[in-house]
């Protein structure tokens, strides 16, 4: 069999630095941009002084199970919402602009953290390997890059012939890593690196990478049912990329890291198909990345699919959650929050459970308050548990998010 080759397709609308290795990427800041960075950092520093503890102190207290003034608040605002902070809600600068221009990406995060007094900067990924396994891709205005044409992996020969891309060399990943490193440098320069934590993501999980970069959703789900051998081979290779990406993130000096998963999109067993082996793959990703990061750096999952409760026990039993692996999970509003908090409380794992995104989008403050209170009351029962808001819809009015944050801070106080 021939040696597998890296197969990066053509990326339509790619930025000029696309494909430049990380060690060769460099962007200069203009005087005006530098002033903006400074002012945002100054505002963040001021925000951090408003409460008893800084966000960083509170973040560490959460994972180290030490006393704190209130719950840490995780918000999945992501780049699309971050862009809103840059152009006064004009819908002028597009999310895609931030994916193409790492400096804009940094600015979006700092501006949003300054504006909304966030507890954390969450640097979500800009890409899911759409053109990294043999297909072409296209960068668009309002979303992450899209695969163009047919998904590339249909046979064992397809998957066996493609090599795992290197996040420090290929596609848009060097740009993401540069932005992650650079934001830390800026924060250190302006004295807030020890005040506000930064979390990096290394998403998609192997399943997401398989569906978005290799097989497509429909064919991928059919493959899972009808061609387990090929599905497994795809998952193994996707896991290898996730591990490489996760390890590469360490050099950006994050304060924490997370991997999204949409396990829960299908059950562990479907008629005569047993997919529980996937938890062994997730355990491998967790152990390898956590081992590289070190035990002091929080590493957790974000759950993106209903049905994850069927996988939860398996994750724990197979070592995909717990000591030496993923430290816990952030959940979207899909399951029963009490059951979830209880499960993670019993196992001493990190947990955050979001409120309903629709309520925030609709500015339904009565519901927002009710949901926050219910979740905060549960989260307060264990020192490793946190409050959560997100994922913020692109059209959530800024005053609504602002008020939601204020409510969350009030309700999360001990």
């Amino acid at each position: 069999m021939a040696t597998p080759q890296v197969k990066i397709g053509n990326m339509e609308n790619a930025p000029d630095w696309y494909g430049t290795p990380l060690d060769k990427i460099h962007f200069e800041w203009s005087q005006e941009e530098e002033l903006m960075l400074q002012r945002w950092c100054e505002k963040i520093a001021k925000n951090c002084e408003e409460e008893e503890m800084t966000p960083m102190e509170r973040y560490h207290a959460t994972f180290e199970m030490k006393p704190k003034d209130r719950l840490h608040i995780e918000v999945k605002y992501n780049v699309p919402y971050g862009v809103r902070s840059l152009d006064s809600w004009a819908d002028a600068i597009k999310p895609g602009d931030c994916y193409k221009r790492p400096k804009l990406h940094i600015m979006a995060h700092l501006a949003t953290a300054a504006r909304f007094k966030l507890d954390i900067i969450n640097i979500y990924v800009i890409h899911y390997t759409e053109e990294c396994w043999g297909a072409d891709g296209r960068m668009i205005d309002y979303g992450t890059p899209q695969m163009v044409g047919d998904p590339p992996i249909k046979t064992m020969e397809d998957i066996e012939s493609v090599a795992v891309p290197d996040p420090k060399l290929h596609s848009l990943y060097p740009g993401y890593l540069w932005a992650a490193k650079e934001i830390k440098r800026i924060m250190k320069k302006y004295g807030i690196a020890d005040k506000l934590p930064v979390e990096l993501s290394f998403c998609g999980d192997p399943l997401g990478t398989v569906h978005l970069g290799m097989t497509g959703f429909g064919q991928g789900v059919v493959m899972m049912r009808k061609n387990q051998e090929l599905f497994k081979a795809c998952m193994e290779k996707a896991a290898a990329f996730q591990i490489a990406f996760g390890k590469a993130c360490k050099e950006c000096e994050p304060d924490g890291m997370y991997l999204c998963t949409y396990m829960g999109a299908f059950p562990p067993k479907v008629k005569d198909v047993d997919n529980t082996w996937i938890t062994d793959i997730m355990a491998k990703v967790g152990r390898e990345v956590k081992g590289h990061l070190g035990q002091d750096l929080p590493l957790w999952h974000t759950g993106g699919a209903d049905g994850f409760d069927k996988w939860m026990p398996l994750y724990y039993e197979h070592g995909a959650m717990g000591t030496g692996s993923f430290d816990g999970m952030w959940f979207g509003d899909y399951l029963d929050h009490k059951e979830v908090f209880n499960y993670f409380r019993e196992r001493d794992l990190y947990c955050a459970f979001s409120i309903n995104d629709h309520a925030v989008l609709d500015a339904d403050f009565a519901t927002i308050e009710e949901l926050l209170k219910l979740r905060c009351d549960e989260a307060k029962k264990h020192p490793k548990h946190a409050c959560a808001i997100g994922v913020l819809d692109y059209w959530t009015p800024q005053p609504v998010f602002e008020k939601t944050m204020e409510m969350a801070k009030k309700l999360s106080k001990f």
Partner: protein, 222 residues
């Protein structure tokens, strides 16, 4: 097997997402003289509804929705050759797609099935489609209706891009532009210059018929 038994088996087969069984039953239904609209709305649609309700109750999974959509697609391939003008529809061509940046397909497939069952000839251009794809398909097929699905928040404004592209291409006045997806509202419909939106496929069909009958104004007459 009676018609009722056949339709019930179709429903059950869809609920269990038994591809081979459903496709075989569709063949039997066609042979027995059932109309495509009956097969879809009285056989398959109830099964889809059960899956959807199960998903809302957390007893069914995203994979079930995707597989059901794939199966519905396969069924439509079987039914398309025998679709005839009728069932209250006009036989008009309709182009439908999910907008650029959005990969969701299940809802669109349900809408495709319903409009097909209602007598429209629906051309599904797929997911993540740029405005040019909508325009080209509308032109090639002399479409009287263009449907755009946009579920993801940031992608909703793209419906306006599609409208603008159709205006520029000189075809907007000759067709109805219908949008759908989670969170679509009348306000969104107005903002993106769509003629109608539907919370459900059935609602979308009703609105299209009413606009075509002059009972509801088009976007530029509101």
């Amino acid at each position: 097997m009676s018609k009722e038994e056949l339709l019930n088996k179709l429903t059950d087969g869809m609920v269990e997402i038994e591809e081979d069984e459903v496709l075989e039953l569709v063949d039997q239904a066609i042979e027995a003289g059932l109309q495509p609209m009956e097969i879809i709305t009285e056989g398959l649609q109830p099964g889809l509804t059960i899956i959807g309700e199960g998903f809302d109750k957390h007893t069914r999974f995203t994979s079930d929705l995707i597989l059901a959509g794939e199966l519905l697609n396969d069924v439509m391939e079987k039914l398309r050759p025998i679709m005839v003008k009728g069932a209250g529809g006009t036989g008009d061509n309709m182009v439908i797609g999910t907008v650029e940046g959005d990969e969701h397909s299940v809802g669109k497939r349900v809408v495709t099935a319903m409009f097909t069952g209602a007598g429209y000839n629906v051309i599904d251009i797929g997911e993540n489609q740029p405005a040019s794809a909508f325009v080209n398909a509308a032109k090639e097929n002399d479409a009287k209706i263009v449907g755009a699905s946009a579920i993801l928040g940031p992608q909703k404004p793209y419906c306006k891009v599609i409208h603008d592209a159709m205006v520029e291409a000189g075809i907007r006045d000759n067709l109805l532009f219908v949008i759908g997806g989670w969170g679509m509202t009348q306000e969104w419909c107005d903002n993106v210059c769509a003629d109608a939106y539907g919370d459900t496929a059935k609602e979308a069909i009703e609105k299209v018929r009413k606009i075509q009958a002059g009972e509801i104004p088009r976007w530029n007459k509101r």
